[in-house]
């Protein structure tokens, strides 16, 4: 079945139909007589003509070539691929939530608005912030929102010379890209060997041209930034704001809050920390929280409450403006809300504790055969630097894991670690799964010593083997003929 290798268009035969809609029951208007000739379609688009069973079998066969969290262990560092509870999916499909038009009058959507309002409140408490927007569609969109808020804050103070954002070299690629997208220049500062901020580097970079600092904590190496309070103090003293990239919140829920660490602006990845599925690349949701004096800058609309009525608040003269066509990825927000209801305060704390326990357990066992560049307690993830006693490449290790039926960790990120393998087991795995992973990693180590060719030729059991990416880029074929 996994050999299935057809495109849907290759199943097409003229006249086949997979749909049925009722016959038109009003007078037919002939588009050719009604629509101006020069905007009328002349050539048919090449779309499939197939039966319903063809559609279902085709995409079912494609699904069989995919690996998801529901298939198995997915320790993809920085991505928090935890199990996605099924109740989330069920709630999102309820007609009273799925079948609501975004332009319905507020009186007819009080349930949706109440849910959003409550979620805003819960996220404020979880992060130690004072106001939230649920609008951003993804983490990077949240970063964009946060940076616009930073820019607006300085604009309103007429502090126009602040044109730079500081980003450590260990940061996610989205951080510098988002700062560029709102017109900032980047100052990249070198991290110390353990991935933490070098205070001297930071002090050297802080001038009256700096608008803010973007930071992930725990860092992308999975380590808590011990000097975080001093860092935020330094940035504040220099007149800048401190931005929290929430990719790694799964390590600290209920243990410590970005707001209490001195962060002014926080984005969350609901599709990571709050168990909404990643959907093969999205949709996510990247809500943004801010401290009290920045609430006025949040994008319009935010959900307000007055006398037991919920409403969309557009009356925010200092707002940065609108960032989505409507109110954000509501269906994703709803799933995160469901998860928070399910977990409660104690459950969120326990999830972070479990994520940290599992990561430290794997780290303690894997460091025997793999290089661990920084020997200390990690948070929810850790980074290995290739294998001990062997110079096989991380890529080959990752590809061999596919043959053993587990998804590899994130590879070659963060950039500051050589041959990086970034392992994030998350909170939802059993001890057997973790032990099985250790066993696989050790087997691969043994293979690398005894017969490294096995790794170089891997994978051999997957639906396709290694793909020619050079050809794909040199002669791009990005649609069917």
């Amino acid at each position: 079945m996994r050999d299935y290798n057809k495109l849907i268009i290759e199943l097409s035969k003229e006249g086949r139909k997979a749909y049925s809609i009722p016959k038109n029951d009003v007078e037919t208007v002939d588009p050719e007589k009604y629509i101006p000739e020069n905007v009328l379609r002349k050539e048919d688009p090449k779309l499939p003509e197939v039966y319903e069973v063809d559609v279902i079998r085709h995409y079912t066969n494609l699904s069989n070539k995919n690996y998801g969290v529901d298939t198995g262990f997915y320790p993809l560092g920085s991505c928090t691929m935890k199990y996605n509870p099924k109740i989330n999916e069920d709630m999102a499909k309820l007609p009273n939530f799925a079948n609501i038009h975004p332009r319905q009058p507020e009186d007819t959507v009080q349930g949706s608005l109440e849910l959003m309002y409550e979620l805003q409140e819960k996220l404020c408490e979880i992060t130690g912030t004072d106001g939230f927007t649920l609008q951003p569609a993804a983490g990077a969109h949240g970063e964009l929102t946060g940076l616009m808020i930073i820019k607006k804050y300085h604009e309103e103070r007429n502090d126009t010379k602040r044109t730079k954002i500081i980003v450590p070299d260990s940061a996610h690629g989205t951080n510098p890209a988002s700062a560029t997208a709102v017109g900032y220049d980047i100052i990249e500062i070198k991290s110390r060997k353990d991935g933490s901020i070098d205070l001297d580097e930071l002090k050297g970079a802080l001038t009256d041209e700096v608008a803010g600092l973007m930071l992930t904590n725990p860092s992308t190496l999975g380590l808590f930034e011990r000097n975080i309070c001093e860092i935020s103090k330094l940035v504040h003293e220099a007149g800048g704001l401190v931005y929290y990239d929430g990719a790694n919140l799964n390590a600290i829920m209920g243990k410590s809050r970005p707001g209490d660490m001195g962060f002014d602006i926080v984005h969350l990845n609901l599709h990571k920390t709050f168990s909404t599925p990643h959907g093969g690349g999205g949709p996510g949701a990247g809500p943004v929280g801010v401290r009290h004096d920045l609430v006025k800058y949040l994008p319009v609309p935010v959900v307000g409450k007055k006398d037991d009525k919920y409403y969309l608040d557009y009356d925010k003269p200092s707002s940065i403006g609108r960032l989505m066509g409507f109110y954000g990825n509501f269906g994703v927000l709803l799933k995160a809300y469901t998860y928070i209801l399910k977990m409660g305060a104690s459950g969120l704390r326990e999830a972070s504790e479990a994520a940290v326990l599992n990561a430290n357990y794997l780290q303690s066992q894997l460091k025997k055969e793999y290089k661990l560049p920084i020997e200390q307690v990690c948070k929810h993830e850790f980074v290995l630097s290739g294998m001990k006693d062997s110079d096989v490449h991380t890529l080959d290790i990752a590809k061999r894991m596919l043959d053993y039926g587990v998804h590899p960790p994130t590879v070659y990120f963060p950039l500051i670690i050589d041959e990086a393998l970034m392992v994030e087991p998350t909170d939802t795995e059993t001890l057997e799964t973790l032990d099985n992973f250790i066993e696989i990693m050790n087997k691969i180590k043994k293979e690398a010593i005894e017969n490294p060719k096995i790794l170089e030729e891997a994978p051999t059991t997957t639906p396709v083997r290694r793909l020619d990416e050079v050809q794909a880029a040199r002669k791009p074929k990005v649609k069917w003929d």
Binding site: V39, Y67, F326, V478
Partner: protein, 447 residues
């Protein structure tokens, strides 16, 4: 015990021992004491599934859904029929529980549907290359403006028609403001882009943005706008509704350099405004200026056809601050829904949906004008949406309709003060003659 946290207390002790620490707290020794939370977060206690269902049932009672009410709202989100195939395929967790396809050997399902999605959208829009999706139609439009500036490096102006969806314009304004991009407007006249304002397009203009059909449902005179853009070598950015493209000319044939739009009308539930999915495409010439992911066909070591993410040197994880865009996560699962929708509807289905929209909207328009309660607001060909001017107070109309199980048209007066008592009806293939006749009958009685 929490069912999603499967480590038992005994296992925890074993694990801590192997790590070489005494307690979970020892694993948090790196968090400074004064920023450690001393008590639980002040949110809800854990709820069972049953309690969660009850909570949703309570909340849901305060929503009115469009299964129970007939919906005439549009303005960027539409009540089209969604075939059963869409939910069943998108509900397969091999698709929805996977991450971005960074390991292509175990992601061929995702990669191939992206390739098929790009192909079908390219066919519909007449473009050479589409990306793997954007957040929604509005953000795709803003990204198209930024892309135009990347192509026309020496220019710093974007011109947008006032007949574009006002929420899309709002998003565009936000993006442009923070990049110091000059934004100008083509005026609206009789419901379409005012031909007289086309002279604003000049040598400083990187891109001209129009929507077709426009916000008011009217089919724009694209050819003339396209010519005006070409004259000053500005890029034409067209925001289109893909559900119209079985009938309307492909934007690529009309001179569009960048095509964007909202994919909600292709099989995506209304879901109070999201998730939806933006699409974006361009010509081969400008391929490397596109933001976002692109999937390409290639072969594996055995020569077997396969798919990978390609042209990644445009993207943030490689190029960082020099990337085309900061976009990382997109709306992949919703691109799958578009793909399954288009596979199900096929060529004839897309034509049928388009034709029924035109016929039913024309029927409703005619019937409403016959009541004497309404007059024409504009007199231009429209697709599935139209505007009429009401002689009765708009709020009264919507109240009366709601009492009769109808979520009425969009009250444009609430968006634009100049359009008091202008109502915009959206009529999809889902509406029946009986429903439209009932609508008209109720409106006849409103005073």
């Amino acid at each position: 015990m929490n069912p999603y946290l499967p480590i038992t207390p005994e296992e925890r002790e074993q694990m801590l021992k192997k790590i070489g620490v005494d307690s979970i707290e020892d694993l948090f020794c790196d968090v400074p004491e004064h920023i450690k939370l001393k008590e639980e977060l002040k949110i809800n206690d854990p709820l069972s599934e049953m309690e969660i269902r009850r909570r949703f049932s309570e909340l849901g009672k305060n929503n009115k859904n469009i299964d129970d009410y007939t919906c005439y709202l549009g303005g960027g989100a539409y009540d089209h029929y969604i075939p059963s195939t869409v939910g069943h395929i998108a509900g397969r967790s091999e698709f929805y529980s996977s991450y971005t396809p960074y390991q292509p050997e175990v992601s061929q399902g995702t990669l191939q549907y992206i390739f098929e999605y790009q192909s079908m959208l390219a066919e519909l829009t007449g473009m050479d290359v589409m990306n793997a999706s954007m957040y929604d139609g509005a953000t795709a439009t803003a990204e198209a403006a930024l892309m135009a500036l990347r192509i026309k490096k020496k220019r710093n102006k974007i011109i947008v028609s006032k007949t574009v969806n006002p929420d899309t314009i709002d998003v565009l304004e936000t993006y442009c403001h923070f990049r110091d991009i000059e934004l100008e407007y083509l005026e609206e006249k009789d419901g379409e882009t005012d031909p007289a304002s086309l002279e604003k397009i000049d040598e400083e203009t990187a891109g001209v943005i129009i929507q077709n059909p426009n916000f008011y449902g009217i089919i724009e005179d694209v050819v003339h706008i396209s010519e005006a853009a070409q004259k000053s070598k500005s890029l034409l950015i067209m925001n289109v509704d893909p559900s119209t493209l079985g009938v309307l000319e492909a934007p690529g044939k009309l001179g569009a350099d960048i095509v964007v739009g909202e994919g909600q009308s292709l099989g995506i539930p209304l879901s109070y405004g999201g998730p939806y999915v933006g699409f974006m495409g361009t010509t081969t010439k400008n391929m490397r200026k596109l933001p976002g992911r692109i999937c390409g066909e290639t072969v594996d070591e055995d020569g077997k056809r396969g798919f990978v993410l390609t042209l990644q040197a445009r993207e943030q994880h490689i190029r960082r601050e020099k990337a085309n865009s900061n976009i990382c996560s997109n709306q992949s699962l919703y691109a799958l829904m578009n793909t399954v929708y288009l596979s199900t509807m096929g060529l004839s289905g897309m034509k049928e949906v388009g034709n029924q929209c035109i016929s039913k909207a024309s029927y409703a328009y005619k019937k409403l004008l016959e009541t004497d309660k309404f007059e024409k607001a504009f007199d231009k060909p429209f697709f599935k949406e139209f505007v009429v001017k009401s002689k009765v107070d708009a709020e009264k109309i919507n109240e009366a309709l709601f009492e009769n199980g109808i979520i009425g048209p969009l009250d444009l007066g609430k968006i634009n003060e100049d359009m008091k008592n202008h109502l915009m009806f959206s009529i999809t293939e889902k509406r029946t003659k009986d429903e439209i006749d009932k609508l008209v009958e109720i409106l006849k009685g409103v005073e």
